[in-house]
Symmetry: C2
Subunit: 135 residues, 2 copies
DNA sequence: TTGCAACCGGTACCCGGGTACGGGGTTAAC
DNA sequence: GTTAACCCCGTACCCGGGTACCGGTTGCAA
């Protein structure tokens, strides 16, 4: 009897909504825990760490699907090094997203600097720097 | 009779799915056009410009709700200058998003550099640079 | 005039990441 | 032994930005 936790306690400790535990279980991110005689989930304390791990990976930009894969990869110890490779790919994604946003920011700055005051007017004005053309 | 367009033609010209026209109409982005006797929408050619304008604003990071507001603002000519103010606010949003992503990218680089190979292992290792702590 | 493409409205579904609700069963403190 | 708080499961809903499907009209050209 090593301090099993009830779902509400785990959720509280990990800073997560209790419903989220069941959701992660359905998504395969959190192993199905043992149950009490009455059917209540009884989590080992390590579950809190798993939840924190999931949240950390999410903050790094991984989707829940990718997090599931990363956790699985670690468990099955296949194809190492897995995390580093995926982190590199994710970094490339993030950098590309930053580049896109930088372009957007630059366009916004140009639009602000050129005194555009009305979208409809700008769309009709060939001198407007907002790129109305498709693709 | 100045070349009214049918929905498919407008969609084609603006590079948009025909369903999207009805969707934008529901969202208040595209005015309800006149109809033929049989009930088919007959768009004035300007609608294509409106659609391109919407798409341009979307590319600048505005949501459809915000685009609706911007178009409305221009039509009602209230509270000028509206676009510039909103563009500045959007620029701040975009810059903040870039800053977030820069932090994420930096963390990913650190994780890659420190040879993390498995999420579960890292979570247990106090020397791991991935921020597992909440908030 | 006939035949088929295009259009109509309404509704349902997709993605991701959850959250809420409702009716019933369990646990634990008093 | 009561009672409140918790938990169960299934299902529906939220956000944003569309897309797909349906059966039933219309438009237009050959």
């Amino acid at each position: 009897m090593n301090g099993e936790l009830r779902s509400g306690e785990v959720a509280e400790a990990a800073g997560v909504n209790p419903q989220t535990l069941r959701y992660y279980e359905r998504r395969g991110l959190l192993a199905e825990p043992p149950r009490s005689l009455g059917g209540h989930r009884l989590y080992p304390p390590e579950s809190v760490t798993v939840l924190r791990t999931i949240k950390a990976a999410q903050r790094l930009g991984f989707t829940l699907g990718e997090v599931a894969e990363l956790l699985d990869l670690g468990r099955r110890h296949a194809h190492r090094p897995g995390l580093a490779t995926r982190a590199r790919a994710k970094l490339a994604e993030v950098e590309s997203r930053i580049a896109d946003l930088a372009t957007i920011a630059a366009t916004l700055r140009t639009a602000i600097g050129s005194g555009c005051d009305d979208l409809a007017t700008c769309a009709a004005d060939p001198a407007c720097p907002i790129p109305f053309a498709d693709r």
